[in-house]
Symmetry: C2
Subunit: 698 residues, 2 copies
């Protein structure tokens, strides 16, 4: 091919390796309203000319592109930010242009420094300004810019020698770049970012079984009992109250207490064996209450600042109405029977899985969408999705955006405890939050490795971790063999490592730890199969500690974000030290946001304001003692620059758990933790003169 | 959107993170004829069903897709190979299917082991086989398969209980998978691989200045002198003879010896200041010889098994004919003068850069293409490209494939010593080979880090390193302060770390090491600016060592490949131990290759043959002493599994440099190297009974 066939001239800059991008742009990266999203890209050029690089972005409902300048951070990498101001999908690209004027200034500086004759070179600058003036003149609102540019050109031609250092920072350079920078290369494809509400990023979950909520030890609890429990939940500090399935429970093949294959008459069955003669996924178990009582619960919770989350468990008991009405939605064996759930040789005869691949899959999928919409119609905005990895990925990839198109505030939490790539795929295709392996990560090295992957790699672009120390199915070996000290440690870690976390209570705060049998992670007499009654006043309860933790989380903005997580060195592997800081975005706008199409001064390029709005935005340093049995001490090496702390001056670390202040100096300080007293410190970094100091080793 | 709008049913398997892929498929990965290319992908599925995963591929000139089965290698990653048999572009995809028959067999095995009633389950298998039989019947050549499948179904219905372990390995399972596996997901896009001839991967370069080749110390050498030098070059073991530009050299602003700004009358100038009244890029410097003599050189080189590589230096001296004929191809300053090369405040007044962005860029690009085609017309197949990073990337991205479309065997070596991402980009867009930072990597940690990046990461998919210990511009500090021991060490490293390497001689083999001045990497009295005469018989010459090295490279297939490079531990940082093995592909076909469209037995799934074809394919272990001054010893820990060595039996390491054999046992063995004797060992691993053993410490 002769080059004549290429038109127009290809642009010189290269833009590649743009972040955030998920599966080459096929899936959305994730963000939340008001939080700056860091954009990075490689951008470079042949030869010695300088580049100007911007990120361009827009909300999908807007036509106008906004732009923010990016800055070089070394090794041809550029960084910028976009700040989403509303929910929905944003799209962005990175654009690099050859900045001939900046190049001219850069060279002019070198020529002047070397004492070279610059007479002719000055004319080059005048030509550039003049060309820019010409372009400015051709735009609607460019008259003023044209005058400024033409004036500069004339001055230079008349002998004015600009000071490159001054011009470089002036409005003029921006004007020339704006009108005369050529050869723009724009990244492709246009990458999408899904922006959600704040609770997608920061949430505090509490799971409880309504049937165990009665204050009458002999009664089957229900929604009205849960209403009575709301004060307790609010006091704990939860903002999401997750209820296991509230639907009628099947009788056929119902499991008994502790999962017994044969149930006694009085056994209540597993709420996940959904469906009985009273109805299926859109019905309410009569023993829990009426639809009106459920509505009352939702209202009371809303008044208490708590959202109720329901469970989406897309499977049926043999008594589910769909079994009779839609036998085609189930798998059949050659003898005509419906295939129950199994993982050979294990059998789960109380559950019929739905057949997502049947010839009538379209009708089934639509029916499941209707289930979600039904509960959204009742005011539900958060769903915990049971075992999403046993349904086709394509189903969720269709269902979630279909729901969010009408209800962008809907949150889906993926309950998939399975292989890493499957969990990541579910997050990529749209799940708002994901359960994690946190419950089983107990050693420092594995916590550091796992958290680093979740918060510091591209996984953080799409996967929002939700840390649970326990669930009705997961009573870890560590908790079984632990005590109050173990439970407070796990709560501390979950609450401060992850902005989204939850506990299954009251089992957790009452430090329930009897397993069904040795080697099992099932609770003995677990609520999955029976009604339990809990004495919330028991002295063993760690509810006060959890309330304190959650109050600190709500007060300290740093703990509401995951991406600033930083681990710090400590010379004892039983201790783990980490910090979180408030991302720039919550402090203030990064720079003036200028729409591309508006004529005006170029965007201000410079560091964002670093003025903190008070103690709520202070850096937080957590020192956790992973040894729940023994006192441990060690020397901490804080990365002060990561904390924004001036290492030359003393500072105060204020333990928000114990409300004690210590005076620290420099990075190297000693800590000592007794698990009988506390599982750790949650230090807020304060200036030395903010408050009186209570103690400290120096 | 209602699901009814989705058609057909989305497939369940997920395929992602396919390798090799370069810039999400925008650029070609690289391969060479006959070498298996490893393909990897993540593939997984919801639920518990099993997958069948294949790589499908075809040469772009063929319509028929070939397929090779992939195998699971853990963490949902799959691996397979494709073997290109001719040059040109291949395309491949990875396809994953739900293998219901394999799932059925897997479950059947579990049910039988648990003693469950399998009567109904057997019918499921019969149904699957019957469905496959139905599909087989509908294909042109499927009659035989249909019979086999129908027979199996009938047998099972009649009470035959298949042994799952037997069936699983039989042809039957393949047949069912072939006809009945459903829900295929195919990776997208279709990734390209450019397959080149062997020399793209394995080449031994020798650079020399023809003008310094005369045996008469007073004469300006030329092509006929180079012909006389061919025996020497062949003896050294080079197969590419690279000549700096052979074109007329400008007189205006010609540089003098050692780069002096003003030349003496007798000074010959830099060959890179191309163009004089005798002509430009398609002319030959009269002092070097005639076009006929150049043709004679090419013929003689060909007869000696040597390819002559020319230099593409797309820049002009002020006397180049294009300056007068096409002033529009150059940048002009406001005073009308042509802009010479500069990097302010540095000036290169003997060079006019071409302006790739001028209004007449199309004509210029075409003229440069004509230059390449001109020399290809003379029989040149290899080009070393001077400073490609100072020309637009888009120019090379157009030029290289345009040339290779007609001349697929053309090799381009990128001489870009610049920032990492720029060097990588040039490789991505089409350069066959690339110069590297090798010359400046002298410490063990940095060599290991750099080589690991080049050979073990995705960089290896597109970047073919060419290691040069020196060039006319690069006399490293290490060489300047070194001696014969340093030069042999650097030759050993270059020749055994990289399948492509070269030296600039005779300066290198004569251990020339005087720099122009302290702190400079320029040669004193360098050939860039003057004629030199070399006494090849000087006793200081390390030519015999280099000949030996290259003979070993030609004999040991392992050294002709880079991707099997493995570093082994040794407890002395002055020693570096690494190995190369022969990739599977050169040993034999990996499996039967079956075209997808042909009805026949499914491809054989199983490990490739590991029978070695003799000592040429043996693993090679290099022990290098990076300390060129002192004797160093240490204990080596060989990764025997990487070498395919049975650790339970003794083996022989045969030093091919010294032709000495040692008996080693297990991974842990002692080595000691005296730089006065040798910079290292090149060990061929041999079976204990292959040859008598000369020595060894055990």
């Amino acid at each position: 091919m002769r080059v004549a066939e290429i038109a127009p001239a290809p642009a010189r800059p290269v833009v590649e390796d743009v972040r955030p991008r998920v599966e080459d742009g096929r899936y959305d990266a994730k963000g939340t309203v008001g939080d700056a999203i860091e954009v990075q890209a490689d951008a470079f050029l042949d030869g010695h000319d300088l580049l100007a690089v911007d990120v361009h972005y827009r909300h999908e409902s807007e036509r106008r592109w906004l732009r923010e300048p990016m800055v070089a951070i070394g090794n041809d990498r550029w960084r910028g930010h976009l700040i989403p101001t509303k929910t929905g999908r944003y799209r962005f690209q990175v654009q690099a242009r050859v900045d001939h004027f900046a190049t001219w200034l850069h060279d002019l500086r070198a020529r002047i420094a070397a004492g070279q004759d610059i007479a002719v070179e000055l004319l080059v600058g005048a030509d550039l300004a003049e060309a820019a003036a010409g372009k400015a003149a051709s735009t609607k609102a460019g008259a003023k810019d044209r005058d400024r540019l033409a004036e500069f050109a004339t001055d230079v031609r008349n002998g004015f020698i600009p000071d490159p250092d001054e011009v470089n920072d002036a409005i003029l350079a921006g004007l020339v770049a704006k009108y005369a920078a050529t050869g723009a290369t724009t990244s492709s494809p246009i990458y999408p970012i899904r922006v959600e509400r704040e609770r997608a990023r920061f949430s505090t979950w509490y799971e409880m079984f309504p049937r165990s909520a009665s204050s009458d030890p002999k009664a089957h609890g229900g929604f009205l009992d849960v209403i009575d429990r709301l004060d307790y939940v609010r006091e704990l500090g939860a903002d999401v109250l997750y209820l296991p399935p509230i639907h009628p429970i099947g009788i056929t093949k119902r499991k008994g207490r502790n999962g017994a294959v044969t149930a006694e008459t009085a056994d209540v069955g597993s709420p996940w064996a959904i469906g009985a003669k009273e109805g299926g996924h859109t019905a309410i178990h009569p023993a829990l209450g009426t639809e009106a009582e459920f509505g009352k619960l939702l209202g009371a919770a809303r008044d208490a600042g708590i959202e109720v989350a329901l469970d989406l468990a897309f499977q049926c008991s043999p008594d589910h109405p769909w079994v009779g009405e839609h036998p085609e939605w189930f798998k059949h064996r050659p003898d005509g029977s419906i295939r129950y759930a199994e993982n050979p040789p294990k059998k789960y005869e109380d559950i019929y899985p739905l057949d997502f691949e049947s010839a009538q899959w379209r009708e089934l999928w639509d029916a499941l969408l209707d289930v979600v919409r039904y509960w959204i119609g009742h005011g539900i905005t958060i769903f915990r999705v049971d075992n999403p990895h046993t349904k086709p990925f394509a189903f969720w990839e269709w269902l979630i955006p279909t729901v969010q198109a009408d209800h962008p505030d809907t949150i889906f939490l993926a309950e998939a405890f399975t292989r890493p790539k499957i969990m990541k795929r579910l997050a990529k295709l749209g799940f708002t939050q994901s359960y994690t392996y946190f419950a089983w990560r107990t050693q420092k090295w594995e916590l550091v490795e796992y958290l680093t992957e979740l918060t510091q790699t591209e996984v953080a672009d799409y996967f929002r971790a939700n840390f649970w120390p326990n669930t009705p199915d997961i009573l870890t070996e560590q908790l079984q063999h632990g005590d109050r000290r173990t439970f407070t440690l796990r709560a501390l870690l979950a609450a401060t490592l992850a902005a989204n976390y939850g506990i299954y209570g009251p089992a957790f705060e009452l430090t329930e730890r009897a397993a069904r049998h040795a080697g099992s992670e099932e609770y003995l007499d677990g609520e999955k199969y029976q009604v339990r009654h809990w004495d919330l006043e028991e002295p063993r309860s760690i509810a006060p500690f959890i309330s304190k933790l959650n109050a600190i989380r709500h007060q300290q903005i740093a703990l509401q974000h995951d991406r600033t997580l930083t681990f710090h060195h400590v010379d004892n592997d039983a201790l783990m030290v980490y910090s979180k800081t408030v991302p720039l975005s919550t402090i203030g706008p990064l720079s003036t946001i200028g729409p591309l199409s508006t004529i005006g001064p170029p965007p201000t390029i410079g560091p964002p304001s670093t003025k903190l709005p008070g103690p709520a935005a202070a850096p937080v340093v957590v020192v956790a003692n992973l040894d729940d049995r023994h006192l441990q001490g060690g020397w901490v090496d804080l990365d002060l620059s990561a904390l924004g702390v001036d290492g030359s001056r003393p500072y105060v670390v204020h333990d928000l758990l114990a409300d004690v202040r210590y005076r620290w100096e420099g990075p190297h300080n000693f800590v000592q933790l007794d698990p009988d007293v506390t599982p750790g410190h949650i230090f807020r970094i304060e200036a030395i003169d903010d408050a009186p100091v209570d103690g400290g080793l120096k």
